[in-house]
């Protein structure tokens, strides 16, 4: 029976059926569920959350050198972090098959940019495969492992949000056990000292030629002939959009193996049609290469390279089709941005921080990025993971050197700190910085849907493991002023901030309280106790000052007619931040007093 799977689930299944025995990843939407699903094959595959993507790729590479089939998965920007090993992996090749899944996010559904990672394959001189749906996600992974070993090349398996997170019917197969390749030392291949690297480069160029020959013959690149003068070269999810728009009224060259491109096949296809379109999402990756090869085609001059595509965008761009829609009344739409949840431990901290004057706040990526939004407005910059601490350090040095009296606070989540923030904090300590660094430890990787990390004490497969002690860690780095606080206690937070500002030298504040949505572990129950009763507004005491709404808690609303605040008991978890914010003691715990 067919299964209804997301692309991510299908990739996991494909890895299982290919006999993979090692997989590592760092979470990141839309890639996260790949490793989560691989982890379900507990008996057959070692699955691990790595602290960052570079580590994930390197450990998968190690497993490949050891002779096993391995996989690393990450979101598109994660490949930037893993780029260093990636480029040299392009030279060395592999032993056991190695697949790097890159999940790109056209449209920036949950990302800071919409880079097109197919360019990485070309740049790092490795093979690129692009599935269009869930069935292909499974089938192509299997072919990816075959190619990886046949051509001694790592494969960049490029997915996009709509392939990762759309479900379709999938025919599963069975697992083929992969016999580990016996280990032999291969210093000329795996020690990339300059003398060897120089020798490897021509080998890579030769490999690319062989891969191009394969590309011209593989079933991954297939032609669908119909009775039409239009030809369409397309890949990934864009193929499904093209099929919706053109149906049988065009011929298709569907590219599943997009680097190296099957240039001979494309030329032949182009020669047999009158009009040639290239329909690809994001950048003109195929189009540029086709044009360099003298193939005339219509692509990005008509189809946008900004945002994600859909069938209508293509119908409009290429056929001038106008879709009839009903009227929309903008006055009946109010924005619904994501917010920190009711009871989120980040709220108490940001509420208190937002009151500080004369500070620059460098932020980072995670749920706490929402501390930048109204009404907290407590973050000034967010760029990439780990950057808060290093950018803050540079800014503080620049302020000091140029006589500017502004203090810098850098805020970073627990998972993000271990991802790359830790290097930045070493920089701060080593170069005698003077920033206030706050590790927002909510005991989980929340933003991406609650993954375990080295600070939580559990592995991806749910087994207890070593737990990082942040205090000891930052002290070992050389930070002298370290304090841990409960972020829901506003006076504790305030004192910690003031003490840190008054301390001459870099400091670390660790806020420690579990994410409001976290399922408590036994350790959490012991440390953080039972969840307390909810809060409510005592209407007689409420003066209608609205200060409690400044906490930005989604369970608090203000009744304009009554001029009173109201706490929705269905949402409140009793964190007491609003209770502490109220200057008139008008918020109390339900059942107390």
């Amino acid at each position: 029976m067919k299964k209804f799977l997301t692309g991510n689930e299908a990739v996991a299944r494909g890895a299982y059926e290919s006999g993979v025995t090692y997989a590592a990843a760092y979470p990141g939407t839309p890639s996260t569920e790949i490793l989560e699903n691989i982890a379900l094959y507990k008996e057959d595959i070692v699955a691990e959350w790595a602290p960052n993507e570079k580590v994930a790729l390197e450990s998968a590479f190690g497993a490949s050198i050891a002779g096993a089939r391995s996989l690393a998965a990450m979101k598109h920007v994660g490949v930037n972090v893993a780029a260093d090993p990636l480029f040299t992996l392009g030279y060395t090749g592999v032993t056991g098959g190695l697949v790097l899944v890159s999940a790109d996010d056209p449209g920036c559904h949950s990302s800071q940019n919409e880079q097109d990672n197919r360019y990485y394959a070309k740049f790092a001189k490795m093979a690129c495969i692009e599935p269009s749906d869930s069935q292909e996600s499974l089938d192509f992974v299997k072919e990816a492992y075959r190619i990886s070993e046949e051509f001694d090349v790592a494969v960049l398996f490029r997915m996009t949000t709509r392939v990762c997170h759309s479900k379709g019917l999938v025919e599963e197969g069975v697992r083929e056990e992969f016999e580990i390749i016996p280990y032999v030392k291969q210093p000329k291949k795996y020690i990339v000292a300059p003398a060897n690297a120089r020798l490897l480069h021509p080998v890579v160029e030769d490999r690319l030629k062989k891969l191009e020959a394969y590309s011209n013959n593989t079933f991954l690149n297939r032609i669908e002939w119909n009775d039409s003068k239009i030809g369409i070269v397309t890949s990934g999810v864009a193929y499904t959009y093209a099929k919706e728009v053109f149906g049988d009224n065009a011929n298709y060259l569907k590219i599943g193996f997009s680097y190296p491109l099957p240039m001979d096949k494309i030329k032949e296809f182009a020669g047999r049609v009158e009009t040639l379109y290239v329909i690809e999402e994001l950048e003109p990756f195929m189009e540029e290469q086709m044009k360099v090869n003298g193939i005339q085609c219509i692509g990005k001059d008509k189809i946008p390279n900004v945002g994600e595509l859909n069938p209508d965008i293509i119908a409009h761009a290429l056929l001038g089709k106008e879709i009839e829609t009903v009227k929309v009344d903008e006055s009946k739409i109010v924005g619904r941005p994501p917010t920190l949840c009711a009871g989120c431990p980040h709220r108490g901290f940001f509420y208190q921080l937002s009151k500080k004057k004369n500070v620059m706040i460098t932020g980072d990526i995670g749920c706490y990025t929402l501390g930048s939004a109204e009404p907290l407005n407590a973050i000034d910059t967010v760029i990439c993971m780990g950057a808060s601490i290093s950018m803050g350090h540079g800014a503080q040095k620049a302020f000091a050197k140029n006589g500017v009296d502004i203090r810098v606070v850098s805020v970073i989540g627990d998972s993000t700190f271990m991802h790359t923030g830790i290097n930045s904090l070493i920089d701060v300590a080593y170069n005698k910085g003077n920033t206030v660094n706050v590790i927002l430890d909510n005991r989980i990787t929340a933003m991406t849907g609650h993954q375990q990390n080295p600070g939580t004490g559990f592995t991806v497969q749910g087994e207890p493991t070593n737990q990082i002690n942040f205090e000891n860690l930052v002290e070992a780095i050389g930070i002298k002023h370290v304090v841990t606080v409960n972020p829901l206690k506003l006076d504790e937070v305030d004192k910690a901030l003031e003490d840190a500002f008054n301390f001459d030298g870099p400091s670390v504040i660790i806020t420690r309280w579990p994410c409001a949505l976290k399922k408590y572990s036994q350790q959490d129950i012991e440390e953080f106790g039972p969840i307390s009763s909810k809060c409510h507004v005592v209407e007689d005491k409420c003066k209608g000052c609205r200060i409690c709404t400044k906490t930005g808690c989604p369970s608090i609303s203000f009744d304009v007619t009554k001029k009173k605040a109201f706490i929705d008991p269905n949402q409140c978890v009793g964190c007491e931040v609003c209770l502490q914010s109220c200057p008139f003691d008008a918020i109390e715990k339900v059942g107390e007093k």
Binding site: H165, S166, G168, T240, P311, V334, L340
Partner: protein
């Protein structure tokens, strides 16, 4: 050949839209359709606006649709209907849950919850069905059945009652909630004439 039908579900993170679409998709698959379903994860749990799309027919290629393409828009929250209204075909249908969830700008008082949404939608789309699933769910004794009640209305609006939905509920929800959800589904179906 069955023409591909497009369903757009909209609402707010935490309203159970993912389960609702799962129930729907399972029923359609059991009935022998090709089905594609698209959801966007990520910010969904943080109270943001959420949609999923379900497409079914003999052969479905694209997992998503653009504006003016939905045969039916099912909105779990009133204001969200306005946000996604232009995705509905002008001769399509709308199912609105008469249920308000204030978003952040409304909570902090920089905007007001828009009035007249339902009336406006009715002016645009003749075939608009309004139900109060929260009230019905409370009558059933569990507010959490709201999403399944809405699925019931959707099933009826799309004339898919022939499918064995009791079986689908058994496949998709925990054993101890099966009876309640079967009842919820029926309740939702009865809301549509």
């Amino acid at each position: 050949m069955a023409e591909v039908k497009n369903i757009l579900l909209s609402g707010v993170g935490g309203q159970g839209i993912i389960l609702a679409s799962k129930i729907l998709a399972t029923g359609l698959i059991n009935a022998g359709y090709d089905v594609k379903m698209s959801e966007v994860h990520g910010m969904a749990q943080r109270g943001g606006s959420v949609t999923t799309q379900v497409r079914f027919g003999d052969k479905v290629y694209s997992p998503i649709i653009g504006k003016g393409q939905a045969d039916i828009l099912v909105s779990f929250e009133t204001m969200e209907t306005s946000r996604w209204l232009d995705f509905v075909k002008p001769d399509g249908k709308v199912v609105i849950n008469d249920y308000r969830l204030a978003s952040a700008p409304i909570l902090i008082g920089t905007s007001n919850y828009p009035e007249g949404v339902i009336e406006f939608v009715k002016e645009q789309i003749d075939d608009t069905i309004v139900l109060n699933a929260a009230e019905l769910a409370n009558k059933l004794g569990n507010i959490k059945t709201m999403n399944v009640i809405i699925v019931g209305a959707l099933i009826k609006a799309l004339e898919l009652e022939e499918i064995d939905w009791d079986q689908v509920i058994k496949e998709t929800v925990k054993a101890k909630f099966v009876d309640m959800n079967i009842e919820a589904l029926k309740l939702g179906m009865n809301q549509v004439k």
